[in-house]
Amino acid sequence: MLKFTCPYCQVEADETELTPGGEAHLKRMGPGSSDQEFYNYLFERKNPRGIHFERWLHSYGCGKWFHVVRCTKTMEVFGTYSAQETNPPKKILDIVKQRISFGKKIK
């Protein structure tokens, strides 16, 4: 079972307490955007086999959305951060980098 620490209430929440919300940091497109941009926003997803930036809702907790960085292949969780941050914090990106180079070494 996945476990994330909610950045708002600091609770270490089980997956059953949370609702997944898909890819994070999508730029919302609306009137004025091109058809292609609107299609990309609505449908196209990175869906990577590897590092995924995603949104989760602490639905049976504080009720707030937050961000998670997770590997979709190994299920390793690299960290969580608030929904107000439009880019992943450097601290978490550094952890990701370190883990990836570690993975390469043991390979």
Binding site: T19, Q36, R45, K46, P48, T72, T74, M75
Partner: protein, 415 residues
């Protein structure tokens, strides 16, 4: 290829059954093929088969990163039905069901197609109305289904509890010609047929890169070396986004885990497939006596071929009110597969932004039933370079054009 028959069985028995040959040959990768199919699941193998059978194209290779049929084709609960709501879906799934009827004879390989009937339960007033609508739609498109009463359902499956209390059974949508088949055998049967024509099936060979020249693929890089080809089609289910990334575009697809389980084997209690869409569970009994149970998919991106524990519990819990006897059964095995979900829960059979690359994916939780029909339609697309009638509605463009083929409401549960 040695033909399987009662006669060959008797003949081999005098030889201690030592004379049977391998169902498909181990091949070595050549430098060049006319067409490369990536992914030796049911859909990839069927595509290769109908390319040979309907278009005479046999200069093919099917490239598989693991073992043949080891993806979702070897992990599903084998339900075959065609009672979909939309016309485009009815056409391709019914074509597929029809091909299943004679597949064993055609391939000379017993795929154990068992048209035992598929029963969909209506457990709310809303669901009853929705199923009636589906039933009418099915009749218009020539798919044979009827609505049946709770009393009739109880007669057909005496072990079912129709009284609720929470989700009493109000009626059912019955497709008498639906059923199940042996999933592995479908992959093996197609593999045996194409291998006998000289099609190369290369296992343990992963596609890791694509070389393009202008907007055309020039060669495919694999873990066993580079190959050049005129056309390539990738049919890799849960890994479609990974392949698309290699080809330089993105897909409207997300990969999630779908799980299933079987109980210990028991005596025959149920002779058809039962699906309970409102509570998210479905069940059939295998020839070995195991109750085969499946439910909904996980909600988050996943490539690990393992799902969340609580989903297994949820699925079983959903079925206990209607089938109280399963609460006494022990679980024998449980497994997961990575399925490729589209927004409208319909597949993609399409040209791609790269001129000579074709795509078959998005079958999500329900593509086993579609293997023959999908192979048929994809072969036509690759051979002619343009989709035929079956495949045309399922193009990638439909998302941009808002031309969804919405089956997410019609088929609430994974199957």
């Amino acid at each position: 290829m040695k033909k399987y028959s009662a006669f060959s069985l008797v003949k081999e028995s005098f030889n201690n059954h030592l004379g049977w040959e391998k169902a498909w040959k181990k091949s070595h990768l050549k430098k060049n093929y006319k067409i490369i199919i990536v992914g030796a699941g049911g859909h990839g193998l069927a595509t290769a088969y109908y390319l040979g059978k309907n278009f005479g194209i046999k200069d093919l290779a099917v490239i598989e990163k693991g073992w043949l049929g080891g993806g979702n084709t070897g992990r599903n609960t084998t339900i075959i039905r065609s009672n979909y709501l939309q016309e485009e879906s009815a056409a391709i799934y019914e074509k597929s069901r029809l091909l299943y009827e004679t597949l064993s004879q055609e391939l000379n390989y017993n795929v154990m197609f068992s048209p035992r009937g598929v029963m969909m339960l209506c457990q709310t007033e809303h669901e009853l109305r929705a199923m009636k609508r589906t039933c009418h739609a099915n009749r218009i498109y020539g798919v044979d289904t009827v609505m049946i009463s709770p009393a009739r359902m109880k007669e057909m499956i005496p072990i079912i509890n129709i009284k609720g209390p929470r989700y009493p059974i109000l009626g059912g949508l019955w497709q008498p010609r639906g059923g199940t088949a042996r999933h592995d055998a479908v992959a093996w049967g197609y593999a045996r047929a194409i291998s006998s024509w000289g099609v190369d099936i290369i296992e343990n060979c992963e596609v890791v890169g694509i070389k393009k020249n202008k907007n055309k693929i020039s060669s495919v890089q694999t873990t066993k070396g580079d190959i050049s080809c005129e056309k390539m089609c990738f049919v890799v289910a849960g890994n479609s986004s990974v392949l698309a990334e290699l080809c330089g575009f993105r897909l409207p697809v997300e990969s999630v885990a779908l799980q299933a389980l079987v109980s210990e084997p028991i005596k025959p209690v149920m002779n058809c497939v039962v699906m309970a869409n409102t509570v998210h569970g479905y069940m059939s009994q295998s020839d070995k006596g195991e109750m085969v149970i499946g439910g909904g998919a996980d909600g988050y991106n996943n490539y690990s071929q393992r799902g969340s524990f609580q989903h297994i519990e949820e699925t079983v819990r959903a079925l206990i009110e209607t089938f109280p006897f399963i609460s006494r059964l022990r679980q024998l095995r449980q497994w997961g597969g990575i399925v490729d979900m589209t927004g409208d829960r319909s597949p993609i059979i399409s040209k791609t932004p790269v001129d000579n690359i074709y795509l078959n994916c998005g079958w999500g939780t329900g593509g086993f039933k579609a293997i023959p029909g999908s192979g048929w339609a994809t072969a036509e697309l690759i051979a002619k370079g343009e989709p035929g009638k079956l495949a045309a509605p399922f193009s990638l463009e439909r998302f941009k054009e808002g031309r969804m083929i919405d089956e997410s409401v019609a088929a609430a549960v994974a199957h």
